[in-house]
């Protein structure tokens, strides 16, 4: 391979570091759950996240007592942090589905070691996202009116409204993601059941494993179910955020009423999702010593995808500005000008800096394989995508057609506490997840080993004989 070719700057690492056996894979991953002691670092991280979760609960309680007036929302900006955070969280989930379902169907073997925690990330992000549309209702206890059921009011929901499609999209997404994640867990919780000494965890894992014995029939049905679920989940990568975008695009507000919104939102969602996967993967592999399974090859590929998606959203920004000019529409033009030079210009500048400029660093292989630098870029993109949603929601609303109805939106303490609280909820769930469940699918890693043994000599060499890498 090296021969007369140019030596790549960062050598391509295998998706699984050489030297592993079936047993060593299972040991290494399951020991984190069943053998290792809970570390002080875990307690520290969990403690911080859990405190923030309590802040969330306090904020929600106060919200339910006082109503949405405690937030900064008002007319004309009636959609504030709640919708910004909703779109942000739901977007983050998308990378998990893309990795787990779409890449499974595409037979991308590098998805294997990251799919479990990416799916967990999806689930927890959807849980955080799902809170917001309910919280922002004036009468949140009546949210079930979105469900079409034979009621004594003689009414159906407004099926022509994207807000109702949104409800179906998000609840379908949550259900399918949960099922997909759970089905994928079954062989692994069975392994945990067989490896745990204590009775109570054995019982819990035993119940979760649904009687898994690993028979050929079990594997056959499992593979079929997993593939079918992947097929069901794949359209959701595109459909959920398309519908979220139609929540906006169906309105006639300049800055929202745009046909580019569905693809623009989907790409933005995957962009922010990959940023979050990297934000989680880089510390995880370090703290739990999983560099053998989540190798620099994974990191490198995800960084490339992050760059690709970053270019996608950049195209979206460019098109928005271009269409504002090309349409000649006075209001569209004004929205763009207002974003650039109006009172919220720092938001726009932040969006461009974080989502367009920062990912350009990923052209350099040195940045892609330097986990610290990449972690920084991923964090910046997370922030940038949140700012983008702020830009879309607030700058479009705060100056609409009539100058007499213009206004400003300023988040209050409770806006911030609710947002930070969901971050706490997300990380609380994530800390619990890495402690009680295998964060990397053991059986799929073992399968990877099998496939490798079956491959040709050349491919084997490519996978296994690569140098350990100049960076680690």
């Amino acid at each position: 391979m090296q021969g007369d070719r140019i030596q790549p700057i960062a050598p391509i690492e295998p998706v699984l570091k050489p030297g592993h056996t079936y047993a060593s894979i299972s040991d290494k991953i399951s020991d984190i759950v069943v053998k290792r002691k809970t570390t002080l670092g875990w307690f520290l991280g969990f403690g911080i996240a859990f405190s923030l979760t309590m802040v969330l609960f306090a904020s929600i309680t106060y919200l339910f007592i006082k109503g949405v007036g405690i937030w900064g929302v008002d007319i004309p900006v009636a959609w504030g942090f709640a919708i910004i955070n909703f779109v942000w969280w739901i977007g983050i989930g998308h990378a998990g589905t893309l990795i787990s379902a779409f890449l499974l169907l595409m037979r991308q073997d590098w998805r294997t070691s990251i799919n479990r925690f990416a799916e967990a990330m999806t689930l927890f992000a959807v849980a955080c996202a799902g809170l917001f549309p309910i919280l922002h209702l004036g009468r949140p206890w009546l949210f079930y009116w979105l469900i079409p059921y034979p009621n004594t009011m003689g009414l159906w929901p407004q099926f022509r409204s994207p807000l109702d499609w949104d409800f179906f999209a998000v609840s379908t997404y949550a259900t399918v993601s949960l099922l997909f994640w759970y089905i994928g867990l079954i062989p692994d919780v069975a392994s945990l059941r067989d490896r745990t000494e204590k009775r109570l965890p054995r019982l819990i894992f035993g119940i979760m494993a649904l009687g898994w014995r690993g028979s050929a029939q079990h594997w056959h049905r499992f593979q079929m179910a997993y593939l079918l679920m992947a097929g069901l989940a794949t359209p959701l990568v595109v459909s959920v955020h398309s519908i979220v975008s139609i929540d906006f695009a169906a309105a006639i507000i300049p800055g929202w009423h745009s046909t580019i919104f569905p693809p623009y939102f989907v790409i933005g969602a995957i962009f922010s999702g990959f940023a979050m996967v990297l934000t989680l993967a880089i510390p995880l592999r370090r703290f739990f010593g999983l560099q053998d399974f989540v190798t620099l090859r994974h990191i490198n590929i995800m960084a490339k995808l992050l760059l690709l998606m970053g270019l996608g959203v950049s195209y979206g920004y460019l098109m928005e500005l271009f269409m504002a000019w090309y349409s000649g529409d006075q209001f569209e033009t004004y929205v763009s000008l207002n974003r650039l030079t109006g009172p919220y210009w720092p938001i726009f500048a932040g969006v461009i800096a974080c989502n367009v400029l920062a990912p350009q660093l990923l052209w350099f292989p040195r940045v892609r394989t330097n986990t610290l630098a990449l972690f920084g870029v991923a964090l910046i993109v997370n922030v940038g995508m949140w700012l983008e949603r702020f830009m879309i929601v607030v700058t479009s609303l705060h100056r609409d057609f009539l100058p007499s109805s213009w206004g400003m939106y300023r988040p209050t303490f409770w806006d911030w506490s609710t947002f930070l609280g969901t971050l706490g909820l997300f990380f609380t769930l994530f800390f619990l997840f890495v402690r009680v469940l295998p964060m990397i699918p053991m059986f799929e890693m073992r399968e990877l080993l099998t496939h490798r043994e079956g491959h040709t000599r050349e491919e084997q060499q490519k996978l296994a004989v690569e140098p350990e890498g100049s960076v680690a």
Partner: protein, 239 residues
Amino acid sequence: MMSDEQQSLPSHVQIDEQPLQRQQLFHPRANTVAKVSIIGGLLAVALAFFLWGVYTRSPYYTGATVTVDQPVPFSHKHHVGELGIDCRMCHTSVEQSASAGMPATQTCMTCHSQIWANSPVLAPVHESFRSGVPIAWNRVYELPGYVYFNHSIHVQKGIGCVSCHGQIDEMPLTAKAVPLTMQWCLNCHRAPEKYIRPRDEVFNTRWVAQDQLTQGRKLVDDYHIVAGGRLTNCSICHR
């Protein structure tokens, strides 16, 4: 249902290199428990929804057909059905205003200063007459604050008293005749021709239509009731 059978693994899968010698985790009956709990759980959820639907439609929840205690056991059956007193004798504002109006004690005393003047049953009426404090009747048709019901428009457009209040002339004690759910309101608002009657017959509790639909369609037309949208617009009842 757990590892109670021998393990048969495909060649490439090894779950454990050192199988632990343990007693069985689950009894064979766990199989049944698992199946029953999966199916039973789904059935329980379905049943809960069904019972909720039954409950919200039951008189226990809607109050339909349930009599309400009153300070005086006033009988519409006696006054309307047997004596033939017109509704408007007591509910004077029903044709002009949103509220049908409750009679002043003086209205009762028109007759009851002479008839049953010393009856202990009517003591609250006489007490009210003496003190000038109105009788505190208990509301039978309670609508939420966000429903702006107007009696006069319904009376003017040919909706009979009994359409909502039932055979009031046969009620010894007054009860809500209908569930008063929004669905019930919409039944008429979506198809007024099924319930409308000539204006002259609004207060006639005994009126029966000959051919309701044919006549109803004509009346809807005659009274300029714009069906199909207007009547089911949210702000017709909610402002």
